[in-house]
Symmetry: C2
Subunit: 362 residues, 2 copies
Amino acid sequence: MAGKGNFMDNKEKLGLIVSKVKSPDKKYYVLAQEKLDNLTKPLGSLGRLEELAKQIVGISGNLEPVLDKKYIVTMAADHGVVDEGISAYPQEVTLQMVYNFLRGGAGINVLSKHIGAEVVVVDMGVASDLEKSPSLINKKIGYGTKNMAKGAAMTSEEAVASIIAGIEIVEEYAKKGAKIIGTGDMGIGNTTSSSAIVSVIAGVDASMVTGYGTGLDEKGLANKIEVIKKAISLNKPNPNDGLDVLAKVGGFEIGGIAGLVIGCAYMKIPVVIDGFISGAGAMIAQSICPASKEYMIASHQSVEKGHKVMMDKLGLKPLFNLDMRLGEGTGAALGIGLAEASVKILNEMATFKEAGVSEKSS
Amino acid sequence: MAGKGNFMDNKEKLGLIVSKVKSPDKKYYVLAQEKLDNLTKPLGSLGRLEELAKQIVGISGNLEPVLDKKYIVTMAADHGVVDEGISAYPQEVTLQMVYNFLRGGAGINVLSKHIGAEVVVVDMGVASDLEKSPSLINKKIGYGTKNMAKGAAMTSEEAVASIIAGIEIVEEYAKKGAKIIGTGDMGIGNTTSSSAIVSVIAGVDASMVTGYGTGLDEKGLANKIEVIKKAISLNKPNPNDGLDVLAKVGGFEIGGIAGLVIGCAYMKIPVVIDGFISGAGAMIAQSICPASKEYMIASHQSVEKGHKVMMDKLGLKPLFNLDMRLGEGTGAALGIGLAEASVKILNEMATFKEAGVSEKSS
């Protein structure tokens, strides 16, 4: 299968990449602030747009960043834990939605087009074979994870391979000139896996971070919480070892998203984190590669219970809250729109001097 | 001067227009909801984007609204109350910024271009004459308002004329095919006027709704609050009469914005309200024409103290909070971007049937 190299090679590659991720050079934050403070507006009056512009300058090491090549990478995979009845939708919806992405009919297609981004669809581990398509990248690690309520979701080898697959995608799109990348997901059952991840890493009870997903009722939610608790007590993931958490209660697309984040940090590309599932991937990434956090831009506050705990643990503050919970990268797409607006402010606004506008009298 | 008709004619025109503003037809909300619920996503999972799409369908009476013609109308005027030392910037900045708008160098130019909107700059009452420009509309009511700390800011005739000027602009741009309009402002001193308006209409003490504006210090803020209290106690505006409030403590651009809102409600065009100053205009509009509220879309939660009281009184919930406080229409521009995203969801996403995706199993 694609995405799978030799385990030791993959593990070594991941270790090497993680060791090369450094914090952005702080001097660019200072230079960007100086530039912003000369623009024709009261100091700081564009609030978080200014912070966003500074972060992108810092990450890219470019005082005039132009986000002309934008990608949303939507990672799809299936989850063995669906056998426990934790989703309101049948498993085949993962496959059906991947085809919907490829035909351009999903929410993520519409919002990506709106902001001028290209959608990259990745088969990280859908439960059946997909027809070939020029818009589909095959990084299949397996035909869905195993049922985490009965054992580990995947092997350590698969966990590493899923992350490497994500990194490889960033390397490929960096060559194509990617200036910003948004994360996205599709996978029936993946809010269960994501709740398990945040429960373990943040050290909070599953009931505090488990929500209705795509539309469970109260009874379904109670069952979902029990399944997560069972999976955690059975597999005993090590909260301080992101790879172990990914292998035991994660998903292939979540590993892929962790890889996207680490890959973006490695290639110095800002990475816009979508909602709950992408947040789980970001938690895995931060556990493995703490410096990757400074490359993350949190897009929206998801409705899904547990997302706030995730953001707090990551130390991220989402840009907006529109009560969304679709996934796919839809929040990331809107976030990229704001990121682009922020750098345009930096690049296109006139300075006080250029415009002949008087500065504050003080 | 432009924008000034005969008082009785203007008053009659305003009354006639207000009497013709009706609530949007609720049947379109139902039809839009049905359409949204057939799209390939869990029910309601796009949250406020779905509400926004429904509102725009309801306002326009069109199940496939296309927001291809977008305008930000930035209204500029001066305020006599600057004599009281309530602003951190000198009065000439109003004029200088209008020229900056016309040359395309301001924040609103950059963000409007980003979302594909045209900026319409209106001289509602700048304190000096402006050079003619094809992009500038002259609706000058006067050379700045009078100092409200010493008497009424304007006459009743001027208040009505400023609102009529805003309505006329909507009529003109509706003919050009405007599908959505954002409000914007420029006017040194106008947070003082806006705080006075919200203090009077919401019935709260000036100290609760007065903020730092473009950058006052603590001493400046204390003075600003005293000036507002003095203006209110001297002029005694009637809290239940928006026209009286506008005349006594308002501004020409705020009257213009109230006119934009009423004009949009009259012409069935969604109107996106910017921040604090536009919120004051929206309060005047709601007081004069309560049904106009259903045509308003609140864009962002402003940093400026008092904006939350304003939104609560209006019954509006802003779409996002990016800690912005620039005005000009910058928040409205980002809000229009979201509005356009919302109707594209409605128009461009595939249905479950079209995409062959299974629906929720329940």
